[in-house]
């Protein structure tokens, strides 16, 4: 397992390995079903869930519609509160800005709050290349980092690991990074948490620079919000002298009051809690600018585009930008449950990843062109989404982009995408089927031919047909199609069987 998603194979191949891994299947089934059931109970407690969901959707849509205005408002408010705003068009720009800011402090290590945006741009790897060590402090991110592993879930990045595996990682790897795990560490949750706590505590107390993302940025006040469970984020946000936050431009909400919606829907959707244990909010450098208060003395906000403006240009696909990264769609997805998060080849796995990655990165790579098909379109994701992203609709839209190409926006430019390769046989079959379905005579001839030769039909298929018959018997073709029976018996009126 390597720490990067570059050069991933297409989803079906990556998923095959996961489907065959009994331990992984067991870990995922147990974890997703537990959180799925708890979420359902937490949501059912609220009488106005449907209204909250609709409100969240509308707030996000409104913000995205007027993003140009709200981004400027954020810049003004953060600057007025003593912070410095930086603009990053892509991952490289963001990484360069952050590395430069860290170097300017004279430090060579940073502590990190769990953040999807910094995972997306592979910040840790970029910092490492510049001689800066980034320590993940979220428990699950720590497990992933120590294990030289990749995250497989948005909220619980180490969901693919069980307790025994975590103990082994702690015992063998912690000493490489700092305080070692006790020799006699067992796999009880309390002992594992204590080992992580002691390991992380020395980093919190030593760090001069903290790096975070944000769940929300309030435009009217310039306030950033981080929602978390463990309190490690609070440590990173308050102890270091310098705080650098890397935030996707879609994280903005216009007003402070808008948080009342999301601070209800996010915890219930993600961890199934009525309220998450730690909600940290900060506005610029607060009172700490002149050293008279708590918190960082220097605050930088890096606003990240990295494909978001291109996504916003797509009328159907832009709804993916409403996402508040709750993970409810992952936990309820039957495909995610079997394939695991790594098969999606992105820090954004599951249904939301299948619509986000091919939009943020484009559909050119093998993995990104395969992601829109990584769904049976069962619709469970849409049903649980707290901002009502119609994920099946976007999946089908992106399938169309893969097979038919068409207009899109890439790096701010209007382009016409060519159809992806590898779909020639499918395209021919679809066109043939379309022809038959618009020529009922031909369809009927085909049906009759199938019926008359039915005793010759094999039980299993060779070549590509094994994709069906490898695990399923073929249906038996009947003696006659329905339409022949209908015509022969005048709809059964002639009494014939």
């Amino acid at each position: 397992m390597s720490g990067t998603f570059v050069g991933m194979p297409a989803f079906p191949e990556a998923a095959r390995e996961a489907v065959g891994d009994e331990t992984l299947r067991g870990n995922l089934r147990h974890a997703t079903h537990t959180i799925r059931d708890k979420r359902a109970r937490a949501v059912a407690e609220l009488d106005d869930w449907a209204a909250l969901r609709e409100a969240g959707k509308r707030i996000k849509d409104h913000t995205l519609r007027h993003l140009d205005r709200y981004l400027v408002q954020v810049e003004e408010a953060v600057t007025a509160a003593g912070g410095t705003v930086h603009w990053a068009a892509d991952a490289d720009e963001a990484n360069e800005i952050v590395a430069r800011l860290v170097k300017e402090t004279g430090e060579s290590e940073v502590v990190k709050v769990k953040s999807m945006a910094t995972q997306e741009i592979a910040l840790n790897e970029a910092l490492q290349a510049q001689g800066i060590r980034a320590y993940e402090t979220d428990l699950a991110e720590l497990i992933v980092q120590l294990g030289k592993d990749r995250p497989s879930h948005i909220l619980v990045p180490a969901i693919h690991r069980n307790r025994g595996e975590i103990r082994d990682i702690f015992r063998s790897e912690m000493s490489e990074w700092g305080r070692p795990a006790p020799e006699d560490l067992t796999d009880t949750p309390a002992e594992l948490a204590e080992a992580a706590r002691l390991h992380l505590r020395e980093k919190f107390l030593r760090a001069k620079v903290g790096i975070s993302g944000a769940n929300f940025v309030v435009a009217e006040t310039g306030t950033l919000v981080v929602v978390e469970s463990e309190g490690n984020g609070r440590m990173c946000l308050t102890l270091p002298e310098t705080l650098i936050s890397v935030v996707g431009i879609e994280k903005i909400v216009p007003r402070w009051q808008d948080l009342e919606v999301f601070l209800q829907t996010l915890p219930r959707s993600s961890t199934a809690e009525r309220m998450n244990p730690y909600t940290s909010m900060w506005t610029g450098t607060g009172g700490g600018r002149n050293g008279e208060g708590d918190g960082p003395r220097t605050f930088h906000l890096v606003l990240l585009d990295n494909g978001r403006t291109d996504t916003l240009a797509d009328e159907v696909g832009r709804q993916a930008l409403r996402c508040i990264r709750c993970s409810a769609c992952l936990n309820v997805c039957p495909v995610y449950e079997r394939a695991g998060g790594h098969a999606y080849g992105s820090v954004y796995p599951g249904p939301i990843g299948a619509i986000l990655s091919p939009q943020l990165r484009g559909t050119e790579s093998e993995i990104d062109a395969s992601l829109p098909y990584a769904s049976s379109l069962c619709g469970a994701c849409y049903e649980v989404c707290p901002v009502a992203i119609d994920i099946p609709e976007v999946l089908v839209h992106l399938r169309e982009r893969v097979v038919q190409g068409g207009p899109a926006v890439r790096n701010g430019n209007r382009v016409v995408l060519k159809p992806a390769g590898g779909h020639a046989a499918e395209r021919a079959a679809m066109r043939a089927a379309q022809w038959a379905f618009t020529h009922p005579g031909a369809l009927r001839t085909g049906q009759r031919l199938a019926s008359r030769t039915r005793r010759l039909h094999p039980r299993t298929l060779p070549g590509p047909g094994r994709a069906w018959s490898g695990s399923r018997d073929l249906p038996a073709v009947p003696a006659e199609p329905f339409r022949d029976w209908w015509q022969r018996t005048r709809g059964g009126r002639d009494g014939a069987k």
Binding site: P12, R427, Q434, R472, P475, W485
Partner: protein, 251 residues
């Protein structure tokens, strides 16, 4: 009321017994049902695989063939959802592409007149006891598009509960997808097969003889998996259960 049966291409070709069952059932309930011979396919497989433009002529054809009927009844939750949920969307997309309101206007009339079979029975005919007899233990799998797109709710269950001789047993994890998903079944065959095997294991755990659903394409996948795993269980479309009577069973 002029009622048309939209059987679907899959049922016409592979599952004619389901079509006969719908005709028998509706006739028994006093509905004079027609089968317009010009019908073919709603275009769902095209649309959901990314061939929206290829699906458009099929949708136009559907709207044309079924234009003169007051109600269009289909024994398929997913094809019903194609018409009701996705035909309006096709019209909107054509409009967004600058092709005018033509497609939307052509498709609009058939959208509200299309009913999945159990909807038609419960909502239009107002019956839940259809006079059926089926002396077997049955477990019911709600297929995804019927469940989530059409919102069939407890209609199938109410119909099954009123069948004499039928013992309905709860399917664990009922609302989880079986893994068929149209072309998903072959494009992601490993995941699809794993989902199918889990569905079959859950069905087996009920001890039922029959797994019933309102969609034969899902049943083709589940039934094919059942046969391969030699479970001895049978997949049966709900229309065939509702059409079954004491006379037919004892005859």
């Amino acid at each position: 009321m002029r009622v048309a049966l939209f059987l679907t291409c899959v049922n016409d070709t592979l599952y004619p017994d389901t079509g006969r069952a719908v005709v028998k059932l509706l006739t028994r309930l006093g509905v004079d049902v027609d089968f317009p011979m010009a019908q073919t396919c709603c275009g769902q497989a095209h649309y959901n695989t990314g061939y929206r433009h290829e699906a458009e002529p099929l949708a136009r054809r559907f709207a044309d063939v079924f234009a003169g009927y007051d109600a269009i009844v289909t024994p398929s939750g997913s094809c019903g959802a194609m018409v009701r949920e996705l035909y309006p969307r096709m019209g909107e997309r054509a409009r967004a592409e600058g092709r005018g309101d033509g497609l939307a206007a052509t498709l609009a009339p058939v959208v509200p007149k299309t009913y999945e079979l159990t909807e038609f029975l419960v909502d239009v005919l107002g019956v839940t006891d259809v006079g059926a007899y089926y002396p077997h233990t049955v477990t019911y799998h709600p297929t995804c598009h019927g469940l989530r797109s059409l919102g069939l709710g407890d209609r199938p269950r109410r119909l099954l509960e009123a069948v004499k001789g039928l013992e309905l047993v709860e399917l664990p994890g009922a609302e989880e997808c079986c893994g068929f998903g149209g072309t998903f079944a072959v494009k992601n065959s490993d995941v699809s097969a794993a989902m199918g095997a889990d569905k079959v294991r859950n069905a087996q755990s009920t001890g039922a003889e029959v797994l019933c659903a309102a969609d034969n394409s899902c049943l083709m996948h589940i039934g094919g998996t059942m046969a391969r795993l030699r479970t001895g269980m049978r997949p049966v479309h709900i229309a065939e259960i509702l059409a079954s009577t004491q006379e037919a069973v004892t005859a």
